[in-house]
Symmetry: C2
Subunit: 413 residues, 2 copies
């Protein structure tokens, strides 16, 4: 049987695990007897529309050690996009062109690594492919630091972000405990609609560190008066109060606590920043104590120097699983992680249809949040703990981590 080629692309927001899935796809596809070349489409689906490809199997064949370096490189080696395909019933021109490209490049399988918006692209391409009777197998590979994809126990990228957030909170605690004066520190954490990342701040707690002392997730309506009472009560007992808060907290009417800088992105999401500052000013005004806010910034999604080995190994395994699924003839699906047990931590890999994933989001269950709505419960901690275990072996050169050369991304129009 003549071998086909395959193609892979990455889309959505960066994580430190998305290149590990790419590495898994490349390694498996290069070993496969069904596939010949592995093409990378640059900037997600845009690369297919612009004929912007690189031959990944060639690059890896020439430099086999690049596979490990790719695995620990942050963000997208192939670049990303925030492009939403139109409904093909309204306009099928891009679909016609994409499947012509698949035919021209003799593509047998297309792998798309992304979050719930990217799975919308996978779903639409799958449905169009089915309609025209295309043999191209189309498989999604999950990634998102937000951990809000349905049908998978958790998502690659989340465990590393959780590890970064917990380590940062621990280090910020050390930074906070040094002054014997009353103070409040507010850590603002990513996660627009789901509180998984903010919950991960609880992993910073240990025998001497009870911080963060308060945790506010977007799943619970935020009440400023309750918040001030929580902080006041703790300040009565101790000097330093450290709070972890999601960027996406809203009041009972659904209004963001920080609405000062809203704008709308391509997918209609509000872009937020500033809830930390808002609460900082509130505490300063109402409680009059020393207060600071720390925005746990984009490093939480790109700090590959502190990734979770468990996370990256799972991301790699999902890339391999996607190739295996395509070899078995599976299409119109996303590779998934199923947890068998917390302790010992065991998972198996499977797949799910896209209808329940694309454009859907998974929140933190109410039963994992404290009744007062200002902390998480033990089962959530048990769920989170295995995901941050282990450290990757990152090479340093001249004092800095060594990542993949991404100069090909600078050459785009």
């Amino acid at each position: 049987m003549k071998r086909k080629n395959c193609m892979v692309a990455q889309s959505g927001g960066p994580t430190v695990a998305i290149n590990a899935s790419l590495a898994g796809v490349i390694e498996s596809a290069m070993k496969s007897d069904q596939y010949d070349s592995v093409y990378g489409s640059l900037n997600g689906i845009m690369g297919i529309l612009n004929s912007d490809f690189i031959n990944l199997s060639e690059i890896i064949t020439e430099n086999p050690d690049y596979l490990h370096r790719l695995m620990v490189t942050p963000a997208m080696y192939l670049g990303s996009c925030r492009y939403k395909l139109p409904d093909f019933l309204d306009d099928d021109s891009s679909y016609v062109y994409i499947f012509k490209q698949f035919a021209d490049y003799d593509i047998g399988a297309f792998f798309y690594i992304g979050g719930n918006d990217s799975m919308d692209t996978v779903l639409k391409l799958s449905e169009y492919g089915k309609r025209i009777g295309s043999p191209v197998r189309i498989i999604g590979i999950p990634k998102t630091i937000d951990n809000d994809l349905c049908e998978t126990d958790h998502t690659p990228g989340f465990g590393s972000a959780a590890k970064y957030i917990a380590s940062s909170l621990l280090e910020i605690s050390h930074d906070t405990f040094i002054y014997a004066v009353k103070s409040v520190t507010i850590g603002e954490i990513m996660g627009r609609d789901a509180g998984w990342l903010t919950a991960a701040a609880a992993l910073a707690r240990n025998e001497y560190n009870k911080a963060p002392h308060l945790i506010y997730l977007p799943e619970v309506p935020f009440d400023k008066e309750d918040f001030l009472l929580d902080v006041k009560r703790l300040l009565f007992e101790q000097n330093n109060v450290i709070v972890a808060v999601s960027e996406g907290i809203r009041d009972a009417s659904g209004n963001y606590i920080s609405a000062s800088e809203q704008s709308i992105d391509t997918f209609g999401h509000s872009q937020l920043s500033g809830v930390g500052k808002t609460l900082e000013f509130l505490v300063k005004e109402k409680l009059g104590v020393k207060v600071r806010s720390v925005e746990i910034n984009v490093l939480q999604r790109c700090a590959s120097h502190l990734s979770s080995k468990t996370d990256l190994e799972e991301a790699f395994a999902l890339g391999k699983k996607a190739v295996a699924l395509s070899e078995e003839g599976v299409t119109a699906s996303m590779a998934t992680i199923h947890r068998i047990s917390n302790s010992p931590y065991q998972v198996e890999y499977g797949y799910a249809e896209l209808n329940g994933i694309a454009n859907e989001a998974k929140s933190v269950p109410a039963e994992w949040i404290s009744d007062a709505g200002n902390d998480i419960k033990q089962p959530l901690l048990d769920y989170l703990t295995p995901l941050i275990q282990g450290e990757m072996d990152v090479t340093y050169q001249n004092g800095l981590p060594v990542y993949m050369n991404v100069s090909h991304l600078a050459k785009r129009p």
Copy 2:
């Protein structure tokens, strides 16, 4: 000869190297035939005023492996303070009490680890000690992420902060390059008056990464029009422009570019934040491109998981040097680092009098800044490069770095 005890304390803002100097003091003093117990004063000079001491030699004797763990623990194991001693000619009551404590605890030497404000305390205590003919030797040990202490080639804590900043800028570059759209990213870096930390962002550059493309230090008056022209010119040539800017940049009249949240700390410094946001809004308004600002937050001074081995080893060596100096009868001085050569990197340790250090600050020399005032020159890069070399061996447990238990700091009034 009967042995005396010695005492050590830490003061000012946190760094990741200040506990390495403490470890150096403890190790040397415990081996010394001049000293018996090593007392730690909690919260700097406040601990002496409050009789808040811990016996460090006891703790280390019981757990010898704590010395390495202490070395990699961020911030101050002994806590800090921002307490400025009054002039003893105005009010000598605290001086009388401090030297009574020294006598009661049979203290032969007092080591104070801190920045230029803390050296003010060392200077005042030294002068008072001289006046009353006290035999207590008083030695300062430098630390500050700002690298702005005079008389020493560089300061412990700076190299690790520089390494964190450069690594972060490299990772933020990967996070930025993924989208094929025009964008500006502004990284705001600490350093109120001196641009050393912001300059360190240049260490992120490598064969594929030219970011940060622009660097603005507080040593150069900042001109908004020039800045917009710089950014526009680069956006013409490339998609993504990444800017490193000091929190302390000022215009030609000396006004801070971000003056929105000024307040004054104990030492009369303006507390700043928000220059990143100010420039973000400026770019959005004037150039209309996608723009974001990233405040490189307090992690730059407390991320011990990414410290520079060179920095921590030098901090440890300075702690040992301070003990050796006191044994030789030196007092009223600060231990210093002298650079012998860049390549191979070689230093030796010495000491300097406090008059040229306390309350003084060292700026980045004009000849190390580009003529256009928007970048640094090669000699500054050569100066910075050795300081970020090497990585410490940090132990991880349950997914997080293992640091020293600081629960003793929570027990303070």
